[in-house]
């Protein structure tokens, strides 16, 4: 790196200490302390062919920097030079350590995203039972409660799965929140002219919004069909004495505003997955020219299957296909 010698103003050079941290460092360099070394990040900066210094003395310079060559004005804001050295940061337990960087948080987003994708897929497939009639759907609901019975007591496996999902959701949410904060801080002053995006998609740029609406949907969904807070039919038994899940669904989706909310939320979830199901491969470092071209196909296909399946339910109920 080229440093204009006239600008280098080294006061003290502390001798390199030949200390090895845990015997792991390969590289040591002189530590400069109390030093203000103006550094040229770029080899040369000029104003249209004139060197920077030659514009000194022109009118209209900022008050603070009057009389100071521009490079020094800039360098005074930079920290002391540390030299090249791979750092040995104090390590936390490895999962926390991983989660402490943005790259690690993206691993958490991707893993929790995959878990939720698995849930959403099986949830949708399970719900297709409503096309077979009330008995099938209600027995399927019973089957879920009896998962692994008699190994596990009634309903326990289901609650373990639910607890897992809630954990996944909370982790996903926390990672999304902290990455958003990081990103906002990384560009405090926005571009003042319109951006012309070339590659970023509507889906990738609205992950936060599609995610938040998915969250609102999940909350409503639980109040509606799980806890029955907004669904008076919940609690009714069918002819076999089973919970009438079928009736609950029909009751809920016959309310037109609810059906519309279901459609909108699922389309947005599809948009979330259109980007998310592609993005997981990058986040997890699964990149291989042999299968790269299938990543887009997978994401589009997955999102389409979820949207078509889930959106069909409110439409089927409103059309009377389900419920008679």
């Amino acid at each position: 790196m080229l440093r204009p010698p006239s600008l280098v103003n080294v006061t003290t050079i502390v001798k390199p200490t030949p200390k090895t941290r845990n015997g792991q460092d390969f590289f040591h360099s002189p530590k400069l302390s109390g030093v203000e070394v103006p550094r040229w990040g770029r080899s040369r900066s000029t104003v249209s062919g004139q060197s920077v210094c030659s514009i000194r003395g022109q009118g209209g310079r900022q008050e603070r920097f009057k009389g100071i060559p521009m490079a020094q004005a800039v360098s005074s804001q930079r920290g002391p030079v540390t030299g090249t050295a791979m750092r040995s940061r104090k390590r936390r337990p490895f999962l926390l350590d991983l989660y402490s960087t943005a790259v690690g948080k993206k691993y958490v987003m991707a893993v929790t995203g995959i878990a939720m994708m698995g849930f959403v897929l099986f949830h949708m497939i399970g719900n297709l039972k409503m096309y077979l009639g009330a008995t099938d759907l209600n027995h399927y609901a019973k089957f879920l409660e009896e998962l692994l019975y008699p190994l596990a007591p009634h309903g326990v496996t289901l609650w373990i799965l639910r607890a897992g999902l809630i954990t996944m959701l909370l982790l996903h949410l926390h990672a999304a929140y902290s990455l958003t904060v990081l990103n906002r801080r990384a560009r405090p002053v926005k571009y003042q002219s319109a951006r012309d995006y070339q590659v970023a998609t509507f889906a990738s740029r609205t992950m936060r919004w599609s995610g938040i609406i998915a969250l609102a949907f999940i909350a409503w969904h639980l109040l509606d069909l799980t806890f029955g807070v907004v669904n008076d039919h919940v609690g009714t038994k069918d002819a076999d004495g089973l919970k009438d899940v079928y009736g609950n669904v029909v009751f809920s989706l016959q309310r037109v505003p609810v059906a519309i909310f279901y459609v909108i939320a699922n389309v947005l979830l599809g948009i979330h997955l259109f980007h998310g199901a592609w993005s997981i491969f990058q986040s997890l470092g699964w990149n291989n020219p042999r299968f790269n071209k299938w990543r887009r196909t997978f994401a589009t296909g997955f999102a389409a299957v979820i949207v078509i399946g889930n959106v069909s339910f409110p439409i089927a109920v409103l059309a009377g296909v389900v419920g008679n």
Partner: protein, 257 residues
């Protein structure tokens, strides 16, 4: 055959210093050859400003042949302007037409403070390089050429990543102000080669952690790849993520560290 472009309106960001408020100012260029580069067009404008006794527009540039990474500029909302795989210095006026209005803004990111007008300080990239973008080698006599065998595809892939000129367009283009393409390119360059192996995992940990201090995070928008004058592929980001995971999870006894 050279033609000329007439009646350009330029909206250029002017800002006296890092902490001063800036604003767009409008300039006209009546006529410029379509063989002029974008920066030559700015030179031409600056000469006029200087002869009018006005302050010249400050912008970064050096080699003007697309290899040093000094030039920058957001041109009409795109880092390095509308031509793919091209640095601003290699962008020519033939990309524009008569009567065009062009908006020129500096790269914007917390890590790239504006020095003046269109010039930004990209030394945070140096911090990333200092923390791992090198190999440690004994400085003895020059080793024989081809002493270390490297498979051709590996060396090609490493050289593709080595093309990164550190211009910062990836950060500028990224909606999150993330530097993963730059860091990924540097990591992929060294981690793919035998010479990079001893420090492979330490490098990736160290560079990722340094990057975290100054830059945003990657949402895999892919905007960086679109803006990169060297068309570095987002594949390097996946490699960065993979090596970072290995650095954290794999048995440290088996990793080269």
């Amino acid at each position: 055959m050279s033609n000329s472009i007439k009646n350009l309106t330029l909206k250029i960001w002017r800002q006296l210093g890092p902490t001063v408020k800036g604003a767009f100012e409008t300039y006209n260029v009546d006529e410029i050859s379509d063989e002029a580069s974008f920066l030559e067009m700015l030179d031409y404008l600056n000469e006029r400003l200087i002869s009018d006794g006005k302050e010249a527009i400050v912008f970064d540039h050096d080699c003007r042949e697309g290899i040093c990474g000094t030039c920058s500029l957001m041109i009409d909302g795109q880092a390095h302007g509308p031509q793919r795989g091209t640095a601003t210095c290699q962008l020519h006026m033939r990309k524009f037409s008569d009567g065009d209005s062009i908006v020129i803004e500096p790269f914007r990111a917390a890590a790239f403070p504006i020095i003046r007008d269109l010039m930004v300080d990209r030394s945070k990239f140096d911090r990333i390089i200092e923390s791992g973008g090198f190999i440690t080698a004994p400085t003895g006599g020059a080793p024989d050429a081809n002493l270390i065998a490297i498979p051709k595809p590996v060396s090609d892939a490493a050289m593709d990543s080595a093309q990164c000129i550190g211009c910062g367009a990836c950060v500028a283009a990224c909606p999150n102000g993330a530097a993963n393409l730059f860091t990924g390119a540097k990591v992929a360059h060294l981690n793919r080669l035998p010479q990079g192996q001893p420090e492979r995992f330490k490098r990736v940990e160290s560079m990722v952690e340094t990057m975290d201090e100054y830059f945003g995070s990657c949402t895999n928008h892919g905007e960086c790849e679109g803006a990169c004058p060297k068309e570095i592929s987002v594949d390097v980001i996946a490699l960065l993520n993979k090596d970072y995971r290995k650095a954290k999870f794999a048995s440290r006894k088996d990793l080269a560290r």
